[in-house]
Amino acid sequence: MKPSLILATGARLLMSLMLLFSLFILWRGHNEPGGGFIGGLIAATAFALHAAAFGAGALRSLLRVDPRGIIAFGLSLAILSGVPALLQGLPYMTGLWGTFGALKLGTPVLFDIGVYFVVVGGVLTMICALLEEG
């Protein structure tokens, strides 16, 4: 399938923008509307656009890893984000925060990043399965 010029150009431009935007949404989620789930959905849409324009093979070579691996990574990150609290004798998943300069980071952010990857991986797993072997 040869992509139309408009779709191909648009997809390239939009995908980078959307990915950036998804990271922005993920990042600002803690204080303003956004978060891992929404960010993940936006990123997944960006990749879906790419796949629609250039096919599943192109998406796979762009990702380099199997989408199922992304699910596994995200889920592991989400699960592990609760462990530091255990090590300090607190109940599992108690939020721990630290300040690094002007940057405030905490385990809930890690958890949110995990959610982000689960959503991206999950949607892409489905989309790749649907697109392949057309």
Binding site: G82, M93, E132, G134
Partner: protein, 769 residues
């Protein structure tokens, strides 16, 4: 005690590696730790009469689950049997399975079983007990199915697992009720609290559920059929699990709960009837069998029945009989099974019709089997005699039918003892016996020690009485009991019964073939075959499952959707109606122009979807509806939900378009029939009305403000985030979210695998289903 139990499990884990390193020595090395543990338990014997030991490790305190152990006379007796006999069994299996490909795996299984069984009898917490109980079921499954290439072994393994774990689940429910009624999940607490459970409203349910567990595990009629089938396991397993230890777990549980639940008419009736019937059934079936191991399996049924019967009758005499017979049976049955295995090993057959005249060739095995068989027949001066006298003593004070059952069962034991010793070892040598040979020390050491112990205990019953029987009886009775045992009681009615028993048993043995034919004929005539019934029940369940699946999973998406939506409307509507929750909010905000506009947009989308004549048009129309909804969220102050809705809407459209590419191209959608359309409309309206009513009802209910206040206050200070919605998602209710993303992951993988199956089928030109 935790150390001891853990030690056995660790040993199990190391066993395969150890066996690979030192194949010739592994059985000696692996038998050593259980023997040492047995020695440790033996050191506890002197003090156990005064004070039981208790150890506890907190596991999940919120749920009342602790890993706690309790060592009193009863658990000590069991622990000694488990580790002592277990050590010999490990040794024995080294000789018996010598050179087997999976010998290392076998050690792993049998030692894991040993640890589980030890945990079971030591456990004080009901949940710990249950966990160990189930572990014995699982390890037993692995051991019965050890020769997994044999279809029969697999069937027997599954059967044992199904029957015992079915009972185990019932028992678990009983334990929960017991804990609720008794005010705690520690058995020692329940006993110490002195709560009168016998008069409790929950008494009968508790009793029945616990009995279901105990009776299935200890193979009481009508759940007895799995035990003889379990003889498909290698002989060391039969000797250990299915005679000396695991099957006694049910009996152990009954003994353990006797001070808490025992003594009521319900207890007495249930246990004496089940025990008596099992004892007689086991005795008679033993005489029908010709396979050495099957004969022994049925005599085990008899023993289990007798033990249950004794616990049912209760009273000092019965409990003493229980304590002594328990030990006596484990000793002689372990020895006999290992001896039978040695005979099988030496001759290649276990069929008593093909065996005879083994004595000159297998004198060692023969001598020890003779001792054990004498104990089984209940002849002096062996411990079996002491046990049988006590049983009769208790029976003479109990119900007549119980005494009769014990009498018949014991007479059968005398005949069965003849079948397992006299028949193979005496008389003219058969062809199978001609090349018989003795196995190595690993094969005869176990029977030797166990049978000689039976003799020692018989000659000095006072020792057995004060060391074990006293503390055991005290644990079963719940109070100290004086135990004074003698081999010779004088000319008592019990002795008279013993003489009659031996006479009847000897007669049955001498006419073994006619006895066998008569019993087989009776069983055929009675047409009771629990084994076949088990098959029929399983087949029936398969049929029901197939029918239900066929109905529910017809493969029509339309029907699935109809089912789901009808269920939503019906269940939600019914709940609303039953709870009287249909209510209108007291005040409504003014209708805003933008709200009206959004509603009109969504309506337009819905109507357009209905009118669409192609799939693509329907999808686009549907997304108008979704976008309207997303805008509604945005406008009315829920930006997070709005954005999510928007993204989900976009992705849904993308996915649907991708799915469309896979569907056969149909230009226009076929118009459903008139009846279908009315049906669909009815369901759609029902769902719409119900959901609207739910929403109105929710609006009419004043929301507790403290929740939003709490989140508002703590969101930034406690969780460092200003977006309350997101803070709830990732922090306050983070655990829920973790569950949800796990579901997302599983669902996506499910879609993926389904698509792969369908697509792979298509590529190969097969029917996708």
């Amino acid at each position: 005690m935790l150390t001891v139990v853990l030690l056995i499990f660790v040993l199990a884990a190391l066993a395969p590696a150890l066996h690979r390193l030192l194949p010739a020595l592994s059985h000696w090395l692996l038998a050593l730790p259980p023997a040492l543990v047995c020695g440790w338990f033996a050191l506890q014997v002197p003090g156990i009469g005064e004070a039981p030991l208790r150890e506890a490790w907190v596991w999940a305190p919120q749920l009342g689950v602790t890993l706690s152990f309790w060592l009193d006379g009863l658990s000590l007796t069991f622990a000694l049997l488990i580790t002592g006999i277990g050590a010999f069994i490990v040794l024995y299996s080294g000789g018996y399975l010598h050179g087997h490909v999976h010998q290392g795996r076998f050690y792993l299984f049998i030692l894991a079983f040993m640890g589980s069984m030890l945990g079971l009898v030591l456990a004080d917490n009901l949940f710990s007990l249950f966990v160990f109980w189930e572990l014995t079921s699982v390890t037993s499954f692995l051991l019965i199915g050890f020769n997994h290439e044999d279809g029969r072994a697999r069937r027997s393994a599954v059967q044992a697992l199904v029957v015992t774990s079915l009972g185990g689940l019932a028992m678990m429910a009983g334990f929960v009720l017991l804990g609720v009624a008794g005010g705690g999940f520690e058995l020692s607490d329940i006993r110490a609290s002195g709560a009168d459970l016998r008069g409790h409203d929950l008494y009968l349910p508790i009793l029945l559920l616990v009995l279901a567990g105990a009776f299935t595990k200890s193979a009481q009629v009508p759940f007895h059929f799995w035990l003889p089938n379990a003889m498909d396991a290698p002989t060391p397993v039969s000797a250990y699990l299915h005679s000396a230890t695991m099957v006694k777990a049910g009996v152990y549980l009954l003994a353990r709960l006797s001070p808490t639940l025992g003594g009521t008419p319900e207890w007495m009736w249930a246990l004496t009837v089940a025990g008596g019937v099992t004892a007689v059934t086991g005795g008679l079936l033993a005489l029908r069998a010709t396979d050495l191991k099957r004969i022994l399996a049925y005599t085990t049924l008899m023993a289990l029945g007798t033990l249950t019967l004794l616990l049912g009758m209760g009273g000092d005499a019965a409990w003493q009989g229980f304590a002594i017979f328990l030990v006596a049976h484990s000793l002689y049955k372990g020895a006999l099974f290992m001896g039978a295995g040695a005979v099988d090993h030496g001759t290649g057959t276990r069929d008593i019709n093909e065996l005879g005249g083994l004595w000159p060739r297998m004198r060692l095995t023969g001598a020890f089997m003779a001792l054990a068989a004498l104990s089984m027949a209940g002849l002096p001066p062996l411990v079996g005699f002491v046990g049988k006298e006590l049983i009769y003593e208790a029976g003479l004070h109990g119900p007549m039918l119980a005494l009769l059952a014990a009498f018949v069962a014991n007479a059968c034991m005398v005949a069965a003892a003849g079948l397992v010793f006299l028949k193979p070892f005496t008389g003219p040598a058969t062809p199978a016996a001609s090349h018989a040979h003795e196995g190595g020390p690993a094969l005869w050491l176990g029977p030797a020690v166990l049978s000689v112990l039976g003799l020692v205990a018989g000659l000095a019953p006072g020792l057995l009485g004060s060391a074990f029987a006293g503390p055991t009886v005290a644990a079963v009775a719940g109070r100290p009991v004086e135990v004074d045992l003698h081999l010779w009681h004088g000319l008592t009615p019990a002795l008279g019964l013993s003489v009659l028993t031996v006479a009847l048993g000897a007669a049955a043995y001498l006419m073994a073939d006619r006895t066998r034919a008569a019993i087989a004929g009776t069983i055929r005539a009675s047409r009771v075959d629990m084994d076949a019934a088990y098959d029929r029940i399983l087949a029936g369940m398969d049929r029901v499952a197939a029918a239900v699946t066929g109905q529910l999973q017809g493969g029509s998406l339309r029907r699935y959707q109809l089912t789901v939506f009808t269920a939503i409307a019906a269940l939600l509507g019914l709940t609303l109606w039953l709870r009287g929750a249909v209510a209108l909010p007291t005040e409504m905000g003014p209708l805003s122009p933008i709200g009206l506009l959004l509603a009109a947009t969504m309506l337009t989308g819905a109507v357009a979807t209905l009118l669409a004549r192609t799939r693509l048009a329907a999808i686009v129309a549907l997304s108008i509806n979704g976008l309207g909804l997303a805008l509604t969220f945005l406008v009315f102050g829920a930006p997070d939900v709005g954005i999510t809705q928007l993204m989900v809407e976009t992705l849904t459209t993308v996915v649907l378009v991708l799915v469309l590419r896979r569907l056969p191209a149909v230009g226009r959608l076929a118009r459903p029939t008139r009846a279908q359309r009315w049906g669909d409309a009815a369901v759609a309206v029902a769902v719409g009305v119900t959901v609207t009513l739910v929403l109105l009802g929710a609006l009419a209910t004043p929301l507790p403000l403290d929740l939003s206040l709490y989140f508002g206050e703590h969101s930034y200070l406690g969780a460092h985030g200003r977006n309350v919605v997101n803070v709830i998602l990732v922090d306050f209710r983070g655990f829920d979210t973790l569950g949800e993303v796990t579901v997302v992951a599983i669902a996506c993988l499910g879609v993926y695998s389904l698509l792969r199956v369908v697509l792979a089928g298509r590529r190969e030109g097969e029917d996708p289903r």
